[in-house]
Symmetry: D2
Subunit: 341 residues, 4 copies
Amino acid sequence: MRAVRVVGYHEKLEMTEVDVPEATGPWDVVVRIGGAGVCRTDLHILEGQWAEKSQVTLPYTIGHENAGWVHAVGSAVTNVAEGDKVILHPLVTCGLCRACRSGDDVHCENSAFPGIDTHGGYAEYLLTSARSCVRIDDALEPADVAALADAGLTAYHAAAKAARRLTPRDTCVVIGAGGLGHIGIQVLKALTPARLVVVDRIPAALDLARTIGADVGVPADGGQVEAVLDLTGGTGAEVVVDFVGENGSTAEGLAMTRQAGDYHVVGYGENVDVPTIDLVSSEKNVVGNLVGSYNDLQDLMALAAKGLVTLHTQKYALDDFQQAVTDLDNGDVRGRAILVP
Amino acid sequence: MRAVRVVGYHEKLEMTEVDVPEATGPWDVVVRIGGAGVCRTDLHILEGQWAEKSQVTLPYTIGHENAGWVHAVGSAVTNVAEGDKVILHPLVTCGLCRACRSGDDVHCENSAFPGIDTHGGYAEYLLTSARSCVRIDDALEPADVAALADAGLTAYHAAAKAARRLTPRDTCVVIGAGGLGHIGIQVLKALTPARLVVVDRIPAALDLARTIGADVGVPADGGQVEAVLDLTGGTGAEVVVDFVGENGSTAEGLAMTRQAGDYHVVGYGENVDVPTIDLVSSEKNVVGNLVGSYNDLQDLMALAAKGLVTLHTQKYALDDFQQAVTDLDNGDVRGRAILVP
Amino acid sequence: MRAVRVVGYHEKLEMTEVDVPEATGPWDVVVRIGGAGVCRTDLHILEGQWAEKSQVTLPYTIGHENAGWVHAVGSAVTNVAEGDKVILHPLVTCGLCRACRSGDDVHCENSAFPGIDTHGGYAEYLLTSARSCVRIDDALEPADVAALADAGLTAYHAAAKAARRLTPRDTCVVIGAGGLGHIGIQVLKALTPARLVVVDRIPAALDLARTIGADVGVPADGGQVEAVLDLTGGTGAEVVVDFVGENGSTAEGLAMTRQAGDYHVVGYGENVDVPTIDLVSSEKNVVGNLVGSYNDLQDLMALAAKGLVTLHTQKYALDDFQQAVTDLDNGDVRGRAILVP
Amino acid sequence: MRAVRVVGYHEKLEMTEVDVPEATGPWDVVVRIGGAGVCRTDLHILEGQWAEKSQVTLPYTIGHENAGWVHAVGSAVTNVAEGDKVILHPLVTCGLCRACRSGDDVHCENSAFPGIDTHGGYAEYLLTSARSCVRIDDALEPADVAALADAGLTAYHAAAKAARRLTPRDTCVVIGAGGLGHIGIQVLKALTPARLVVVDRIPAALDLARTIGADVGVPADGGQVEAVLDLTGGTGAEVVVDFVGENGSTAEGLAMTRQAGDYHVVGYGENVDVPTIDLVSSEKNVVGNLVGSYNDLQDLMALAAKGLVTLHTQKYALDDFQQAVTDLDNGDVRGRAILVP
Ligand SMILES: [Zn+2]
Ligand SMILES: [Zn+2]
Ligand SMILES: [Zn+2]
Ligand SMILES: [Zn+2]
Ligand SMILES: [Zn+2]
Ligand SMILES: [Zn+2]
Ligand SMILES: [Zn+2]
Ligand SMILES: [Zn+2]
Ligand SMILES: [Zn+2]
Ligand SMILES: [Zn+2]
């Protein structure tokens, strides 16, 4: 089969012919790829930024946002069968550690990360585990949802955690209506009737935010903290979800948060730097957010099946992988770039 | 009646004769003071540190940690009656705002703070509200529990919040076995069978901690983070409660916290300064903690009645108020100083 | 002012001229009635069914579903002011008991129930407490929302409790799309993206249910349990909310509930009669539901302000009270009958 | 190896020589039995009561309460290693269904039950799965804890669920201080400072209950409901855990439960038969309880390691299996009978 591989850092990806993987282990699943997302992380991998952390041996097949059809299953697989349409959780988890036994598999003590530290999905077939396979609805196509496997799942996870405490009277601020924020807004809209206030620098992003569920758009023009305080009678929002995490958004996000409220960190870049006296006197919480669990991905796919979460994609043939990577690097992709074998 | 008043900042307190307050409003309660805690905050008030924030008019009666016997009640009071032994929640709250209606009265939008912004308890009688009165068990004496009304209540609140997620398999680290930590350890011991690891600089504090429930004492000698990691198989503790909040304890506390764990800020002084990437990749939570609610004080008094939380006190006659203040300022009080009219 | 009074059981209501009530107590609020719901409970009162339980002294003014404008307030009232549009929680609660202090005021130990055990809202003015007043949005009219104060609030409470555990993958069955069910469906639709399956005997009720949010309508024709099992792959629904509670709905509701699921009782009539072995082996929960709290009413009014919960009403002048009562008794009211002074 | 087998219903068990099982599958674990509990369920199996439900093929090895040492592991096992001391969760679960992925493995859609529907632990070795193995503390011996794997785990599960809402002010009633109740009381004592009231017919059981943590013992002499109401100021207990479930205990348990309280069903026999109007007006919950999850067993073993839960056992050599069964049938076992190979 064809597979697109990292052959060296600061070198171009290369298409190679390799063997189709086989389901030799009992929980193995081989998936015929229907779509593989091209992600900014892939650019970083090529720049060598992940080399030390992943310890991956070159060459290897890149691509960590994958969906397709089950091609073959190991002897113990009961949750999917050949022919099933599936999206793949980005991690292959052990199933035995305390985190895995508690439904919190993202914190698995023994996980692999296809496309990062083992072979990924820029290929015709991918070897994964039954534990990573989420069946998707008949109405969904792998190439349309593949990119939800990573960024979309992160946004879902944060939004779903945030929504748990929101009541119809509350206000939730979303900082950043870009890739993750765009999903986060749709998820929040689906999960809670709380008022959604979206903050972004770009007017077009605010316009888009309003069409997908934002009740109010606030330009990030320096007056955004005051604007949120004005909207909330001076008290701030019960929950703030920060998909930016840099250029001052953390201090602003905390300033927009009500007493006893939650400030969720999703985007990253700068430090959260806050006096303990302020945390104590306001009793605010700073909540970290990693990618979502297997259950989160199941829930996200349920929302997608209902048409409540959609993603704009720009599709490329697998052979055009270089064009997709170049377009992404040049900012020429609208929505998410997807490779279709 | 006698009352000890702030007559000017950077001046000594003065004993004066004033009228006994009356229960004119329907929810008013007049309490005959049985004990009033002398707190470090009182020293700060005398230094003028609260002047701007409290906007209190001098002279006024100081003392915010109060317990005693109900002397008179207003027409609408149904929760206490004349003669009842009570401890007083430090805040007089409105009962009508959203926070009050949700049991979260500490975040009341219209509260008063006797001893800080209105007359307090260094006196024979104090005027408060039915909403602040917690009846105490026959087995408890006002002078023994008064000091639990403030610092004790803060420690209870943080410990009870922390305990909610602790299982018998978990480890909870308490940083600081001083005044608040001493109560926090007893509360945690009463609420959870999780392993309690206490970190403190002072060997005697660790010895005391062990006698009141700590399973392990760790000296804060620079090796405390490593010690906690060693105790937890390298992963850190599910929950860390930091009663110090300065001299590096925040970075150390976060470093001792397990992935997806909670780091509780109770003590204050320095900044929490943490890269967003660390919060995201570890999915840790930084949890602010203010003083406890009215319900928390009820729960704390239930623990005190069962003998599960005790406090060492050093009693002074009300007329000896200056001696108590001086002793506290000089570090000559073991446990808490209490004025007894 | 005019007031419609119960003068004897099994007698007709009478219009009388009485004094306008005054706000003499500090938390008193006098409300100029904008709309008072005519409820089936009112018919039961006239039949004497509540006489023993309420111990009310005749004559008294009936009417327990009230909304209007604040006319006068007592000295301590801070949450509403003269002129505010308000809906009234059906209970006047004490604010001091444990339930009230925990936001669970419905279980108040010292409550009054205007229209049941004291003067109600079939009148021009009503005396209530600040604790019962919920300000409503400018976009809402008292006569349009008054009937949400009782049945609507009960439906909200059950639906909101039920929604807490529902995920996008789950199914929620609503049994009964009548008065309460009609509100419950709208609330569930607003609070959760879970699939809503509505069961009712009447085809028109199912049609209406679909227009307000039901994903599937199931006729209660004897095959409803099997239909729900078919819809859920044989496992049953994660949550069932039973607004009927008679004619076999409890056994059917439990049979429709998945293992470890919740069966909510809202409507009443028959007994829940279930073998303990079935509760144990299935680990199902049977959840009782009373009317909602003050906070629930605030949340429901937030949904109403967003247009997410609406009620069909049929308005009558206060002077036409007898016509309204007769119409209700004859089944000639579509939606809810409202008296407008 | 030796194995004790069911060779026919209404026949005696037989000791046979069979092959030691091997760990051929990747998650297989072979355990050298250190202790196997002799349970009343085993008597029921011999009477044929489980034949239809389990569909087990005779002959097979009985014994579902097992602990011992890991003898061999499959290729994918990472949570235990040869030589580890382990107790075995009674179910072998799939790890792939929704319940398993959520930490709620007791509701697994594809589980096996060694000793019931496949070979169990009245033998020298047992084949199980890595997913069923819980490592136990060095201080614990397999033969001492084996019987906690079933009844103990059920009691833990109910008690831990019950404890979640208990505060220091609350009262928890335990009905039945027999086998399960005895563990439940110890677990509740470890998890909550709430007052524990234990109800039992037998004075000696109440005496024992007091020594292991009961604050109050109430004889079940017909006055137990009134006694609990007296103890709680007429309101009833926040939580009631019923380990009996027959002879009227369900109606009594519900009558002892406070408004908005939880009545937990653990023991079974009779029907819960309660008017819906009572559930609605009191807003009580009836909570079903099955055996605990894998995580529950981990937590229970943590309590056992701390010495907070202990069990009286009467040990028999494996060869004396018939004596153990006979003793149990005759009521001659104090605590739990354990077979030691
Ligand atoms: Zn990605
Ligand atoms: Zn980048
Ligand atoms: Zn794992
Ligand atoms: Zn203080
Ligand atoms: Zn307030
Ligand atoms: Zn009504
Ligand atoms: Zn009350
Ligand atoms: Zn019956
Ligand atoms: Zn058993
Ligand atoms: Zn399973």
